[in-house]
Amino acid sequence: MHLTVAGKDRSGDLGVEVAAAAAQLQASGSVGALAPEHSALVLKAAADRADYLRRYLGLLGLRHGVRTADYYVPRGPGWRGRIAAAMKTALWKLLRYQHDRIAFQQNAVNELAIAALEFQREETERELAELKRRLALLERERGGPAP
């Protein structure tokens, strides 16, 4: 890593310190929840807008659910923070008891909506392919491209 601070090259001291701290962080695991092939960043490799849409719908299909299990409760400093965090955790477990029923229904609606989009895209592609085939046939019969 090259680092310039206030016009001075600090790669040799600050850069080394930062790299060591980062290595320590990385040793304790990653921050991403998904495998790289399921990450939104695969969209950067799309060949064109059609390919983007295919990839996007695929990724959307993996993300239909509202997750409730891994809810993070932030902890403030000191004993007050610990008590508040304990209370929030207990409260969240209680709320999940009811909330999960609603989340289940919402997840089902999301999944059905995504499937509908996918069906619509497939149908549009099928119709387009059919129209292209018939146009090509007509052009062959005319002996040249349509005006």
Binding site: M1, V5, E17, A22, L25, G32, A40, D48, Y72
Partner: protein, 355 residues
């Protein structure tokens, strides 16, 4: 003054946009010199709240003895107007983002950008002079075989930020969390996803009470923006805010509340937001690329080749290490003093005299 009028044309006009701000600054300079000056932009590309600042390109009628300054950044009807104009002509090259960076998200836009790059040599040859707003941009024009490109660094007007911060925005930012700010278009060359990933490390491992505020329009590339939203969601980052529009007063509120300004952009002709952040006393962390080192001019922190975790640790040091922060802020204050002392009027008059 050797010109009866000095008009400017550009592809678009919006509040806060770097090229629009520069066009306004040049127009004001011209008027101070006693020369009539207007800004012309294709009517459909003038933001609704800017209709008094810019006029419709369709109304541009060149007269004898006039100068036309063309701010070139993308393919637009302004290019044809520039070609046709019988006035003396200057093209100001603000850089054109390489189309390849957009191809995955919007191939028609990528094609427009490539076309604009392809047309640059012809547009430059049609001009009596070529100015560039950074030495980096000047080198791109020179690489096309054109000589005599003059550097006229992008104008920064502190007065544009001399407004009271928006009280509603300020209220929303009054919490104790550490705030990392990015300002710029949500476009693939800005590599905002790298900033989000670095922030994930910072927020989850180093400072839970923190937020990343991304201020910028998504209109340039909505598919890229969708990817960013999806990426922030998959990293479970509720602390990332996407602010699609900020008024000048709103922008001031964001700058004033920020603990750090960060950008991981991989292509910049100049990068005005780093100067804006410096003028508001916010430490700047930016990738050492393109025209960014010129915009920083020996101030702030430039990085290169950093992993997301390293970037997160760097953010942490810049926010929590008061000695380092002080050194960075002092360098930035010196940079702003140099900018304020810049003899803009003399530079501009010298450029005009050379025509």
């Amino acid at each position: 003054m050797k010109f009866a009028a000095i008009h400017q044309i550009a592809a678009g006009f919006a509040k806060g946009d770097a090229i629009s701000l520069e066009a306004v600054a040049i127009r004001d300079l011209c008027r101070d010199l006693g020369v009539a000056s207007e800004i012309y932009v294709p009517a459909e590309r003038i933001a609704p709240d800017c209709r008094t600042a810019a006029r419709a390109l369709e109304d541009y009628r060149p007269g004898a003895g006039e100068l036309l300054i063309f701010h070139y950044s993308i393919q637009s009807p302004a290019t044809e107007a520039f070609r046709r104009s019988p006035a003396r002509k200057v093209v100001v090259y603000h850089n054109v983002t390489p189309g390849d960076l957009f191809r995955a998200f919007d191939e028609p836009l990528a094609a427009r950008l490539e076309a604009a790059r392809g047309e640059l040599a012809e547009v430059a040859r049609a001009a009596d002079a070529v100015w560039a707003d950074s030495a980096f941009n000047a080198a791109e024009v020179a690489a096309l075989g054109l000589g005599g490109v003059r550097v006229f660094p992008l104008l920064f007007s502190a007065a544009a930020f001399d407004v009271a911060p928006d009280p509603v925005v300020r209220q929303g930012l009054s919490g104790p969390s550490k705030k990392i700010l990015f300002v710029g278009r949500m476009a693939p060359n800005k590599c905002v996803e790298e900033l989000i990933e670095a922030f994930a490390w910072y927020h989850k491992r180093l400072e839970r009470r923190s937020e990343l505020i991304l201020v910028g329009s998504e209109r340039a590339c909505p598919r890229y923006f969708a990817m960013l939203r999806m990426f922030a969601a998959e990293l479970d980052l509720m602390a990332v805010s996407f602010v699609r529009y900020a008024s000048p007063a709103g922008l001031v509120a964001y700058y004033e509340a920020a603990d750090l300004f960060a950008t991981a952009s991989r292509h910049e002709g100049f990068c005005l937001p780093v100067v804006e952040a410096m003028s508001k006393g916010v430490p700047v962390l930016a990738r050492n690329v393109g025209g960014v080192p010129e915009a920083m001019d020996g101030a702030g922190v430039l990085f290169d080749g950093a992993s997301p975790a390293e970037l997160a640790c760097l953010m942490h040091r810049l926010i929590s290490d008061s000695a380092l922060r002080g050194e960075v802020l002092a360098s930035q204050q010196a940079r702003i003093r140099r900018l304020q002392a810049r003899p803009v009027r003399q530079e501009f008059e010298a450029l005009l005299a050379a025509l």
